[in-house]
Amino acid sequence: MRNPTVASPEGFQLPDSQRRVIRWMIYLAFGALSIGIINGLGQALNYARVDILQYFPGMRTYYQGLTVHGVVNAIVFTFAFANGFLALTTSRALARPLNTPLLWAVLGTMVTGTLLAGYAMATGQASVLYTFYPPLLAHWSFYVGLALLVVSTWLTAILLFGALRGWRKENEGKRIPLMAFISVATYAMWTLASLGIAVSVVGLLIPWSLGLIDHSDPLLSRTLFWFSGHPIVYFWLLPAYVSWYVMVPRQAGGTLFSDSLTRVVFIMFLLLSIPTGFHHQYTDPGISGGMKALHGVLTFGVFFPSMVTAFSVMYALEIGGRRRGGTGLANWFLKLDWGNPALVAQILAMLTFTLGGITGLINASYNLNQAIHNTAWVPGHFHMTVGSAVTMSFMGIAFWLIPYLNRKELVGRGLALVSQWVYFVGVLVMARGLISGGLDGMPRRTEMLEAPYSKPSWELAGMLTGLGGTLMFVGGMLFFAVLIATILFGRKTETPEDIPFTDTYHPPATTGWEVKLDSFRYWVIATIVLILIAYGPFLAQYLPGNFTSTGYRFF
């Protein structure tokens, strides 16, 4: 019987013209990361009370550096990487070229947005951090730049759904190839999730920064920010999950076990990522305790698919380790290919993510959050999620993606391995510092160098933060050395390489309820219903809002 899926269509290569655009997207991503990491060094050393920011050209304040660090790492780097990488995975899985003008539009929007926001930040007119809570008022170009960066993700969503639609017309009745399904699901989730930030930025903050409206509503904008601000962490994470699910097993010599379970996991992220934002606002006035509790429970729900992922991915790795001769309970782990930097980076990323996940669960734990909210604990937590689980996964992917996009061989495999181990040790040391300091009240987002208050126990916490951050910086710079050397000096590969993705041990079902998993329409409707339940009561009670705050430029 003919296999009804196109899991691995033979011989499909992305056209060179499109490969080039995606290459520039990935370059933009890592260019942004390089600026972010350099600024990060200044941030980490601040906690160790070492001031290097004064040597940064044009840097007026610590908070300007912190704004740049957050925006380029958490928004430009992640968006540019997701846009390029998931466009590639979708196109490859569907064996269809993409819409070239739209692909250029994505790149153009990202570059324009980055330049506009970058101008405002570089000139010190937008030191409002990457959360840009009003009534701190930034230059309009900052908000317009952010809006364009969000628009670039919407254009990518149109690109992916367009490709899927074309594929469906020609493949009626067939299951969507897994890698395309999980890529598109990521964008379905984020498109819905980004509406909050879009309404706040386009509807409220841009007109306010241009003087068209006089007042902002800080609680409303904050709520809209976190409507998008929690699911954004899954938008950072899911491209890494795409790699963990369908690429890492192949790289480890294993097989992904279940097709259906993988789809269920991504559907769960679509459903549960968004109605959880109030767990970032547990300590806010103006929001009822009942709504906070509801979001807390749903946040616990979204922990579940991550635990399924932990199982599935470890299982796939174990299959690989045993095929390579591993035996016993743990020996298979040592038998993995520890010489492959693409794989090693992502295994280390998974290890930091276990700690990132556990600390995240603590953040979500309702009144327990009061012990750590806005302390250094929080950056300690998210440097083990986005700052390493995601970043190291993207670096690991780059070890094959940059050679693939350039048709060149990787230069400096040994150095690549060292960069990841150094970064890994660095992030653990830094997180240890931030987390212990945070538990003892050390605040986040604060220029500790100049603060008139301190506690003796913050000394060690600060030193570890500075030391760990320095190691992360060194690891990052080694990574960029490998990248640049590969781009400049890599040997041309003769035959075109394919991207490394896997089949599943259990192929997709062709009958039964599992076929329904592919109907995005129903899942999107269900997600909207959940959003209405989670945010409807608050909005019904709160709107038309409390627009009484004039803008402040306290920077």
Binding site: Y133, S258, G286, Y366, A451, K455, H506, S549
Partner: protein
């Protein structure tokens, strides 16, 4: 969908763990009274200093072993900067901001809440042990954010 037995066990344990955690949280909230800030009214940011009770910030005894702290955050200081309360008293913070978002964290305790323009924050807690705590503004509020702090002295 094929799910292996070992995976079913793993996921069952995960679900059980999450339910136990949730149970503990609900007990601590409703059984032990550790609540999060709730809705406590709105206020015009430009009129904070003319609106009771914020026209007279400070600490006052309002009942038998009950104290009220009326607190204002403004870039970049708290009013009052120093709060003295007896150990074991029930202390209710009533707080707001006149300008941008600020935060209040009395380190070493679970008094941890945001000051959002237009909103009144109300938080009740009991400091059991005598001692001194830093009260830190823990939300970025501009170039002098790190200068904004105070003290809570439990006597």
């Amino acid at each position: 969908m094929t799910v292996e037995r070992i995976e079913k066990i793993f996921l069952g344990l995960t679900a059980a763990m999450l339910l136990v955690f949730l149970g503990a949280l609900f007990y601590s909230a409703f059984g032990m009274g550790m609540h999060l800030p709730d809705r406590a009214g709105e206020i015009l940011p430009s009129e904070v200093r003319n609106t009771p009770p914020f026209d007279d910030p400070g600490v006052r005894e309002v009942g038998d072993n009950q104290y009220e702290v009326v607190l204002i955050g403004a870039a970049w200081s708290f009013t009052p900067r120093e709060i003295r309360v007896p150990a074991g008293a029930e202390v209710t913070f009533i707080a707001t901001t006149t300008d941008v978002i600020h935060g209040v964290h009395v380190e070493g305790t679970r008094v941890n809440f945001m000051l959002i323009p237009g909103q009144i924050a109300k938080v009740t807690s009991t400091f059991r042990e005598p001692g001194e705590h830093l009260m830190i503004c823990h939300e970025y509020c501009g170039a002098g954010h790190h200068l904004m702090y105070g003290r809570v002295i439990v006597e």
